[in-house]
């Protein structure tokens, strides 16, 4: 309670509150424009937060992402294009409602579900993270090694339908993380004589390249013409909302629980939570035949789920330094930059900062109501902004943001090279999120691995000697072997 009281003024400070409101508006803008995702919003915010104290920096990211995840529903409902991948699961449903003349109900339900789901996710974060931190206090390098492996494995397996390509993307990220001076031996690795590469590939230019530049390239080469913006004004989004929320209160709760739980799994974030919740909603609905025809029930489940997942993803990120999704992968990078190395020790050493993050989560989700309402009202204007004007502005922002980190254009070169690689990879079916996770977790993984090897005198069996490490290790190895086991079972069944 004392820590909570210390944390309160850290958040309720005019500067921090201004940052929260501005980043909220930024997040809504990014989410509402198709093609600009919550991850890209986070990536573009990072160079700005680089110059802030930890609390406003993290508050900006929390707020922007919460807003962006909701705002993705707006073009989903009005144009049938999800603003962010997290809205993709129920875009058809929301658009079907719009075609029935119920755009207000679709957007109102999305907003209310997002606020309630977001608050539930925040509650889960507040209770689960400190409890898990207690457990994690006893972890050694062996447990951390397996946890990092588990997080990376889940990311590679879950984020794409193709584990082999997810795995390669992850390994590429890990490989990029080894560039620079090896901290153990002082050996320069893959620097090719470049002094600038000695310090390694900076995470911010890499991330901006892979998420923002690749997206700009995709956008300027999109062959589909931009969709027509509907002319009708948005009416009262709260009409009939009370009835919907009351009728589907169980769905709200179920969506929030699924969202927070899925979010807390390493490698799974808001988009996967929304897909699962929508499927569960349909399966257990009394009127499954209405799904897809403009039925609000699935919207309640999935709309609350993707925002609840946001709080959930921060649990493994803060407690173990294991990202739940690509946004928290960026967050972990920011935490390291701010000297708040994620892990149980940050709960002991800087609890006021952790509580400040918790408070921000509640504040951001409450602020979603007025700001989200305003963005729905302004949606027609937002959607009219021309993509071919917006993309150049984003590109220049990426260049300046990248330059700002080390005050050198070398970072822009890194951004360009990795942006091109990411673009080519994604177009060939390789997911990018695992590469970013690999880049962020690479140093931790190598450090934990080498420390453990030195402790165990090179004996690999020591990785399985401690009980928790053994369980984590076995789970990890089983996941690695699962494609082989599945194939073998498939063959036996065929015979």
């Amino acid at each position: 309670m004392d820590t909570f009281l210390i944390a309160l003024p850290l958040v309720f400070d005019p500067y921090v509150l201004t940052v929260i409101v501005l980043s909220g508006m930024f997040g809504l803008f990014m989410g509402a424009i198709p093609g600009l995702s919550a991850t890209m919003a986070t990536a573009l915010l990072v160079p700005v937060t680089f110059f802030m104290a930890p609390v406003p920096a993290l508050a900006a990211i929390v707020t922007a992402t919460a807003m962006a995840i909701f705002a993705g529903d707006i073009p989903g409902a009005l144009l049938r294009i999800p603003g962010t991948p997290a809205s993709a699961a129920y875009t058809d449903e929301a658009f079907a409602l719009t075609r029935k003349g119920k755009a207000e109900l679709a957007l109102g339900t999305s907003l209310a579900a997002a606020v309630i789901g977001g608050l539930f996710g925040s509650l889960v974060l507040v209770f689960a993270a400190p409890m898990l931190a207690q457990v994690a206090k006893n972890f050694s390098s062996y447990e951390y090694f397996w946890l990092a492996c588990l997080g990376l494995t889940c990311a590679a397996f879950i984020s794409s339908g193709d584990p082999a390509k997810g795995g390669i993307s992850l390994l590429l990220g890990l490989l990029i993380a080894t560039i620079g001076l090896d901290p153990m031996s002082g050996q320069a690795r893959f620097t090719f004589g470049s002094i600038e590469l000695m310090g390694g590939v900076s995470f911010i230019p890499a991330m901006i390249g892979m998420f923002a530049l690749a997206e700009v390239l995709r956008s300027v080469t999109a062959v589909n013409p931009p969709p027509e913006v509907p002319q009708a004004a948005i009416g009262n989004i709260f009409r009939g909302l009370g009835g919907v929320l009351s009728k589907y209160r169980k769905n709200l709760f179920r969506g929030s629980v699924i969202g927070a739980a899925v979010g807390a799994l390493p490698g799974a974030g808001s988009d996967i939570a929304a897909w699962i919740s929508y499927a569960v909603s349909k399966k257990f609905s009394k009127e499954p035949e209405k799904f897809g025809t403009g039925h609000v029930e699935g919207l309640v489940d999935a709309g609350s789920s993707n925002n609840a997942a946001l709080g959930g993803t921060w649990v493994p990120a803060l407690v173990f330094g294991i990202p739940g999704d690509s946004i928290t992968a960026i967050v972990i990078g920011v935490l390291y930059l701010k000297g708040m190395n994620p892990g149980p020790t940050v709960f002991l050493q800087q609890p006021q900062l952790i509580y400040a993050i918790f408070i921000t989560f509640f504040l951001a989700n409450l602020l979603l109501l007025p700001l989200g309402f305003a963005s729905i009202k302004a949606s027609k204007q937002l959607l009219r902004i021309h993509r071919m004007v917006l993309m150049p502005v984003i590109l220049i922002f990426c260049m300046v943001g990248t330059f700002a980190i080390n005050n050198t254009v070398f970072g822009i070169g890194i951004m360009l090279v990795l942006g091109l690689i990411a673009y080519l990879m994604e177009e060939n079916g390789f997911p990018i999120a695992p590469a970013i996770l690999g880049l962020v977790l690479g140093p931790l993984l190598e450090d934990a691995f080498m420390t453990s090897m030195i402790k165990g005198d090179g004996n690999l069996l020591t990785f399985f000697e401690r009980p928790i490490a053994a369980v984590l290790g076995v789970v990890c190895v089983l996941i690695w072997l699962s494609p082989l086991l599945r194939r073998r079972r498939g063959r036996v069944a065929a015979e």
Partner: protein
């Protein structure tokens, strides 16, 4: 360029081989059997394994080795792609000499004029000027990033 899994797998097998080659002279840690090369080589081994899996899968699946992206049929879209890369490269090469205000403005102007069309020249000029001034103020003044003024050093605020 969209390539078959066999080609992309082969690229990663080659990358793994390159990692082995470049790590051959890395120092061992005294008294240990592993050093700076151990972790990159472990990654490379896994990468080669998965790359080979893709090669086998791609060969079995058949189909064309490579195909161009949809947008490559349109010279307009090829131009769009090229102009983004060209502006980035030009910025890297010249921004230090001519400074951010001019390089940023020129880059934005060229991009908007090309992507949106020359008919929108007034919008391009206004957006470019406002954005560059805004970024100059926000990054240069508020965040104290030393954005180079270059040729405009004389009028720096």
């Amino acid at each position: 360029m969209k390539v078959s899994d066999a080609i992309s797998g082969a690229v990663f097998v080659l990358l793994a081989a390159a990692v082995y080659w470049f790590t051959k002279d890395f120092r061992q840690m005294p008294g240990q059997n592993y050093g700076a090369a151990f972790f990159p080589r472990t990654i490379a081994t896994c990468m080669a394994g998965l790359g080979l899996l893709l090669v086998v899968r791609g060969l079995r699946a058949g189909g064309p080795w490579a195909a161009s992206f949809d947008w490559m049929a349109s010279p307009r879209h090829i131009g769009n792609f090229a102009i983004v890369i060209a502006v980035l490269v030009a910025y890297i090469l010249f921004s230090g000499t001519i400074g951010f205000p001019l390089a940023g403005f020129a880059g934005l102007l060229v991009l908007i004029l090309w992507l949106r069309g020359p008919a929108h020249w007034l919008q391009a000029i206004v957006v470019s000027a406002v954005c560059v001034a805004g970024m100059m103020y926000f990054f240069g003044e508020v965040l104290r990033v030393p954005l180079p003024w270059g040729l405009l050093q004389g009028v720096a605020w």
